[in-house]
Symmetry: C2
Subunit: 330 residues, 2 copies
Amino acid sequence: MRVSEIGEDALITRIAARLDRPPAGEVWTGDDAAVIASPARRLLLTTDLLVEGVDFDLSWCRGADIGWKAIAVNASDIAAMGGRPHVAVASLSLRGDIGVGTVDDIVDGLGAASRRWAIALVGGDISGAREVMLSVAATGVLASAPPVLRSGARDGEAICVTGTLGAAAAGLAVLRARDRPEDGFAGLVERQLRPRARVEEGVALARCGATAMIDVSDGLAVDLGRILDASGTGCEVDPGAVPVDAGVGSLARARPDLVPDALEAAMLGGEDFELLFTIDEADLPAAREALLALATEVTRIGTVVAGRASVGDEDLERWRERGWQHLHGR
Amino acid sequence: MRVSEIGEDALITRIAARLDRPPAGEVWTGDDAAVIASPARRLLLTTDLLVEGVDFDLSWCRGADIGWKAIAVNASDIAAMGGRPHVAVASLSLRGDIGVGTVDDIVDGLGAASRRWAIALVGGDISGAREVMLSVAATGVLASAPPVLRSGARDGEAICVTGTLGAAAAGLAVLRARDRPEDGFAGLVERQLRPRARVEEGVALARCGATAMIDVSDGLAVDLGRILDASGTGCEVDPGAVPVDAGVGSLARARPDLVPDALEAAMLGGEDFELLFTIDEADLPAAREALLALATEVTRIGTVVAGRASVGDEDLERWRERGWQHLHGR
């Protein structure tokens, strides 16, 4: 059955049946607004938008991937403040020719990611449109530390990043390739389709004294630039220290048509949703240890400095410009 | 300058410059998530989506109208719970050929409506797309009473509605007419382009003991049906009591090609954002008085009854079916 045949209330009923049930005293779907227990003195609020043809394409991903990612990117934003996501609402626009099964899939993906990060999906809105679009807004709660803003980086601090970079962009290149060479590169594809939000890592880093933090959604160059702009500082980044995902290196060697340069994929690729942060050198060992307890590597890639922002011999600005071009061509 | 020429960060900076500044201790735009003071023990959360070609068309409205409406419909959802809206985030998708001035306009409309209902617009997301889409999510705070759900209607209670109905749909017909007969019908056009949310009315009705409440967004027939479904009750509605907007009557007489039937516009039109509620007859005089203090009329249109839902001699279900057809053809 298609979306255009089922009607809005029937579609909402169908969606609600796939979602979790609220605890006593709360109201989720089915009314004008959700009622939720207010969890904390300070609330975090964020929203992220996925658009068909820009952020995903149903020719290379399933509805469940879209739903998963819409939650993950919001959870990642909350994580990058040092908070835990709490509740979310989703706005979904649908083409009339989309199958109702695809909507079920999207909702299941929303549900799976919500459960993964303990987010209550409490409501939403649907509308007809000429393209599929999924916007999620999520609240978050600060754990024990103040929020980690982008503006807190100070000269002399270490610049670090969790995990590895470039995998999501490489996975996208694999998915878009006509010959679909997924077999050897399932890990990269997974990073594109099922990104993880570093929620516990963000909470731990806030506790360990991270001074500035952002999630790497638009590429290391662009997102590092945002921290430096907000903090009014520069940097010295060692390009050799950037933790390029091993699979990206393999793909670049096997299929240079897909990934011409592994470092470039790591610097510009985006959508890795790793946490990029600055921290006093004295606090770094404890942060590293706290994240190792979560099985997450921390790599120091450089130092915050007054003045110029550089990556090896190059200005960061040149990388940023290429990053923007990359983003707009994506 | 066009959206495709300016770049995301420059566009966000431009947008942020048009928004209000946060109070001390809060962080709004410019970071991964907004940080806001958590206001209450229970939080309301809602989201609503406006899509180009479905909910608006730039051939008959300006960017500022879209921004205004996106906030108003969320405020109206919060009002229909008996709450006051608190903070909001907006997701905006843009065609590349949209002028940056139109984006400024949308943001100004968001800002104007936010100030009108004392909502802090604290952040958002933008993306490219093939159509303009604006999704707002808003939190709300319950005033002094518990939330007024759709499910609380009980047999014997009065069914009432604030203000007048049909004006927004009639305004849409005027806007879409080729000959644009706005001159005599500016009030109807205003109701379509600049809907008001009945926030203080909702708070007052919650305090006066309204037992079920919904905002009339999809038409009286459809939205009344939602209250009855949720409450497991029926109704006797007097079609002669439905408060058809006077301007709708005038338009129906002058231009039956645009509005063939005034009652039908009121029953099926939608987007009036009046509050439809049920209340014990004993509490009705106080509710009426409280709303008159806000210069808002309350009209009793019928009674909640066990069993059949009827509008005069007809089943409400027949009106609902026509309401759905109307919604999908809108």
